[in-house]
Symmetry: C2
Subunit: 201 residues, 2 copies
């Protein structure tokens, strides 16, 4: 029997993607579902769909204020570290390119969680090569080689194509999950998406 | 000991408010929490905060398409009737005014559920006095008296003040829940809001 799989589309700058990234692997394993990590960039989608060049949470401050309190409560509920980033949204381009360069290498999930934790639990600049290099080294990888590879035209094109694919498939925010032709939006739908992946509908 | 209470703010035109309205009373009862039904109008908030005169799901069709599929799946998951309304959003003014006229009368929750079901499970015009009169009569109320009372200046002012209060308290969508100074947005947060109301944090 083929293992059920769930595509997990996220942006390292996205607050609710942080929650999903920290919880997804454990929940997927418990459901017997394989998790496919798919970093992409939200910015081009927001620009194309909403005509904005910022996070909707900044453009609509009433909603933004709620989101920050919601995040704080949810992190407490799930026992996750939380420190409101002093910059939001942070530039997630280099981190996303490094992931694209790494493909489905086994260290990617742990690296992704480390990037999210740097952004949302330690308030660090996740676009800094020094910060990302440190997180790669902590996974036993060669920071210099991977960061250099992230800057190649092939990898830049791969991330652009990934983001274009998100737009074609109807993504409008993050995190977004795909399984068996169905799309589920938001950390709040992660459990429903996992149910769907394993045939519980 | 004071009974814990949860304010449930909703608009009869709102799709996710439908889910919340159909499920809230049972979940609240199971949690030992008193539910306070608070109809208001989303339209003025969308205009003030987003500069739009339509549902955000219509203004942003990528998101709208997802919402309709999401609703269909959620109704199946929770065993709720579902028929995509041929008009969206429906005008919810008269239904909201009738609720304001009725205050916290015991028939209000059942009437609200009937209005939501008319809109989202039977595709009926919930701004029609005939339809609303039928739903009031089914609750053993006097349709003519209540619909007349809904048109008085006092009731109109009460609904306007209710909507202004929502704006002052930071509401940006529906359903929204308040308990103990905390705001929770969305049907997806109903269980967290109930947990908070009964002191589980």
């Amino acid at each position: 029997m083929k293992t059920a799989a769930l595509e997990f589309w996220f942006d390292f700058a996205s607050t609710y993607s942080y929650l999903a990234a920290m919880r997804a692997e454990e929940l997927a394993a418990r459901s017997g579902v394989e998790l496919l990590w798919r970093p992409f960039l939200l910015g081009p989608l927001f620009t194309a769909q909403l005509g904005i060049k910022d996070s909707p949470f900044n453009v609509q401050p009433v909603r933004g204020r709620y989101m920050w309190r919601d995040l704080e409560r949810l992190c407490a509920r799930y026992g996750l570290g939380w420190k409101k980033p002093t910059t939001f949204p942070r530039n997630s381009l280099l981190a996303a390119r490094i992931c694209c360069a790494a493909g489905d290498a086994p260290f990617v999930p742990a690296f992704c969680r480390a990037v999210f934790a740097a952004n949302f639990a330690a308030d660090r600049d996740i676009n800094s090569p020094d910060v990302l290099g440190e997180l790669l080294a902590a996974q036993g990888r060669d920071p210099i080689a991977l960061i250099a590879r992230a800057a190649t035209p092939d990898v830049k094109a791969a991330l652009k194509e990934r983001t274009d694919e998100a737009a074609r498939r109807g993504v409008f925010g993050a995190p977004t999950f795909f399984t068996d032709g169905e799309m589920f939006f938001g950390h709040d739908r992660m459990d429903h998406a996992l149910d769907w992946a394993r045939g519980k509908r």
